[in-house]
């Protein structure tokens, strides 16, 4: 019964919540709008937006040494997770069968494990930094912690199901993924999509004023 | 007739119908005045207590056994011998009288049409035993051997064993068959023999600095090279190297897998042993020499 539930309705429900939630949030972001900037445009907002979007991938020179740890751990985690998510053999097969209909060549098994190790290490260090650093600890809301821990649990159950031998562990992993999808639109996980408009908005805002943000 | 089969081809201790048989009178009855038929040796229960030629309708008539044939058999056997009488009547009657249909002749390995009527040892063209060359010389070169000029003496005269000291021979593997293409495409057989190898005696391997499992170049006496795995074993004697000949798909170290038509390449590819073998043709059948040649084995 549980298997039917997890593989069936709950999966589609969580997908629905995810897509509708994300779209809803993005629309909300767009339609909140902001006051028109009445100043004379000194430079093009668009180029500012694009420039800022890419410049934010690299930490500012001055504060780089201070935040080197979160940047490195951040990239380790995100790149490990994306490589794992989109190029791990079981995931590629899953996407091919359940969602997209087409597949691509997956990473070899050892690369999949190394990516997972990078992701786990990055996430642990990032989450510990959030707890250890007094400033980030103060500004961390419960939602941040839940998002981090939930992602960790999803990855951990994924690791537990590596042997692909028992349906029980696969279901557990899929169930945590479903929880993650449902929680996604209401949490900081939205930054997966909102970081694009937010950087561009700031970039455009300052670009219009000719400021190199 | 319920014949039990003939386990031993030449066995005069049993009646022909029980599986006995005599030597075949294949080469006629007489040569140079010497009687080729058997003298004083005959099968058990044979009514003819001496040698006799192959059976044909004339022989039966002369022996007076022609009437043992049924009329239809007589019709079929008229003007024919035991090989061409499709009714099998001649064979039946011959066996009924205890004789073997193909006659009873002397067991003489005397093939007068061959260069060596009686087989004798002739040292191979590429040999490291120069002493045997003098004792057992090979044939003279022949200008036209079925219109093909074929060299024997002139090659044997050259001493290759200085730069190619090791005797090279080839042979079978139980896992593969023939050229190996089919059996190397069989998943279970291919897994048991995954690499083309050469068997070297530990002493030769030691002298050449080769360990078991190394890649080695086996260079034949005519400078063709094959790159194979070394298998250091005592199966071969010192100074001898053995190569199985079921492999193909590599040529002098280059893997030619992409040349196979799509999806037709076997699981296992390897050097063809005969690449490293040398000139030499049998004096009768023109069969190429793939059993004894000379080679040099160096670490790849």
């Amino acid at each position: 019964m549980i298997q039917y539930l997890i593989d069936g309705p709950l999966w589609y429900f969580s997908l629905a919540v995810f897509f509708i939630g994300v779209v809803w949030q993005l629309i909300a972001v767009v339609f909140t709008g902001n006051k028109a900037d009445l100043s004379v445009p000194r430079d093009s907002a668009a180029s500012g937006a694009i420039k800022t979007f890419f410049s934010r991938f690299v930490p500012h020179r001055e504060i780089a040494p201070a935040i080197m740890l979160p940047v490195v751990a951040g990239y380790m985690f995100h790149l490990g997770l994306f490589a794992l998510l989109f190029f791990a053999a079981p995931h590629v097969v899953f996407l091919e069968e359940n969602l997209l209909g087409f597949g691509w060549t997956p990473m070899p098994h050892w690369a999949f494990i190394v990516a997972a190790q990078f992701a786990f290490f990055g996430l642990i260090v990032l989450w510990l930094r959030r707890l250890v650093n007094p400033v980030s600890r103060l500004i961390s809301t419960l939602d941040d912690h839940i998002a981090a821990i939930l992602t960790f649990v999803v990855m951990l159950t994924g690791c537990f199901a590596l042997l692909e031998g028992s349906t029980g562990l696969r279901l557990l992993h899929r169930f945590t993924v479903e929880l993650w999808l449902i929680y996604f639109p209401f949490s900081a996980l939205m930054h997966t999509f909102t970081f694009v408009p937010s950087r561009m908005l700031t970039g455009a805002w300052f670009g219009r004023r000719g400021v190199d943000a | 007739m319920n014949h039990p089969g003939t386990p031993n081809l030449y066995d005069t201790s049993k009646h022909v119908k029980d599986g006995g048989l005599t030597f075949r009178a294949r080469f006629g009855v007489e040569r140079n005045g010497v009687n080729l038929l058997a003298e004083g040796s005959f099968g058990r229960g044979s009514e003819i207590k001496d040698g006799y030629p192959e059976f044909s309708d004339k022989v039966l008539k002369k022996l007076g056994w022609w009437n043992d044939l049924t009329p239809e058999e007589q019709g079929a056997a008229e003007g024919r011998n035991w090989k061409t009488d499709l009714s099998g009547g001649i064979q039946r009657v011959a066996i009924k009288h205890g004789c073997s249909p193909f006659g009873n002749a002397k067991a003489r390995a005397m093939v007068w049409t061959f260069p060596d009527p009686v087989p004798i040892h002739r040292e191979p063209l590429y040999t490291s035993r120069r002493d045997l060359v003098a004792k057992y010389p090979t044939y003279e070169d022949r200008k036209s051997f079925w219109r093909l000029p074929t060299r024997y003496q002139s090659i044997q005269a050259i001493d290759f064993s200085k730069d190619y000291p090791i005797i090279l021979t080839s042979g079978r593997l139980v896992e593969y068959e023939g050229g190996g293409d089919e059996s190397r495409s069989n998943r279970w057989l291919a897994e048991l023999q995954q690499e083309m190898f050469v068997e070297i005696h530990p002493r030769d391997a030691n002298n050449a600095g080769i360990k078991d499992g190394d890649d080695v170049w086996v260079e034949g006496a005519e400078a063709a090279k094959v790159k194979v795995k070394a298998m250091v074993t005592r199966r071969v004697d010192s100074g001898v190297a053995f190569m199985p000949f079921h492999f193909g798909g590599h040529f002098q170290g280059k893997d030619l897998r992409e040349k196979y038509p799509e999806g037709a390449d076997p699981y296992v590819l390897g050097e063809a042993a005969n690449t490293a073998f040398t000139y030499g043709y049998d004096s009768v059948t023109q069969m190429q020499e793939s059993k004894c040649s000379l080679c040099r084995i160096t670490k790849a």
């Binding site: 740890l69 494990i113 997972a116 190790q117 786990f120 290490f121 642990i124 260090v125 510990l128 930094r129 707890l131 250890v132 650093n133 007094p134 600890r137 103060l138 951990l156 690791c159 537990f160 199901a161 590596l162 042997l163 031998g165 028992s166 029980g168 562990l169 | 896992e175 897994e191 048991l192 023999q193 995954q194 074993t233």
Partner: protein, 373 residues
Amino acid sequence: MLSLVLTLAFGLQLSSADASNIPPQKPNVPDGVSALNPGSDLWREVRRRDGVGEFNEVNQGVLVKDLLSEIQRSRQVPQGISQVNQVDSGVMINAKGRRWAAFRMTTLASYSGIALAAIFVIIITFYVVRGKVPIEGGLSGNMVKRFTDYERITHWTLAVVFLLLAITGLILLLGRPLLIPLFGKEAFALLASASKEGHNLFGPLFLVSLIMMLISFARRNIYEKGDLTWLLKGGGLIGKGHASGGFFNMGEKTWYWMVILIGLVISISGLILVSPNFGQGRLIMELMHIVHAVSAMILIVVSVGHMYLGSIGSEGALEGMKTGYVDINWADAHHDRWGKHCHEEDLIVSAEEYARMQGQPADSAEPAMEQGK
């Protein structure tokens, strides 16, 4: 190195002299007749090459020295050959495996279980008897920075990974005798499969965080002159007086080097165990498993002591790793030389300053024990 010595002693003490190498008897045949029988000679050789003395309860303990000698001997005596080219496919009979299996399930599992239970009992009785070691003169509220953020992240990463590995490892080792009766085979199989995958994946992470730990803490853990006296005085746990210590006292230094060295041994043997694709034979894997398991058990048992001492055992200890600041009285009590250094360099942060750093509004500057949201 330490753990290798321990496993040697561990193995040596357990098993009596092992009668496996029977000298080749000469067949009792009158001299004139040579009745050498290659058949039986062959099987005697196979038996000796892979053979073991009669396997009985007495010598079922694995002799690590025996395994080491077996590994060399397996290279001298020519192995058999087989068309199947896999690991050890040339070895006809590997009787050492059976002894390792018996060792793992009887000696290793039971001793580990006993050791684990023992350390908890010791800690609880110690807590009941001694209770929380208070700081003389109570907390002063003035704090001094002990660990930077990076150091604490390193410590806690190693701790998280270690705990995860320890739990999954113990599930694999002691799961069968303890958990199968509780959950039944199917459920435990899920747990064990999860533990195995988790253990294998997090193994290398332990090595990485171990190296980070080595880099950031090695300098302050080098033994100094005063450390021996610390040891002689029982480190202040036993007896009255207080042993003097630098930034790290002798106990903490020993624990640090134990973690690093035994940790490295565990990691290396673990890496060998986790990568069977380099064709190492079973003997090496069995030996690595013994080294891995015994060293890991040592580390786990001692780590329980460390966790106790660092949190409940002594007042104010956890603050160092939790916030990076410790009370100056705590420093003077446990690490007087470092305390004196802080006084001289005036590194002390007053209570109000500390409260403000923790983000409380300035007026409610009660002692800095409670902070955070």
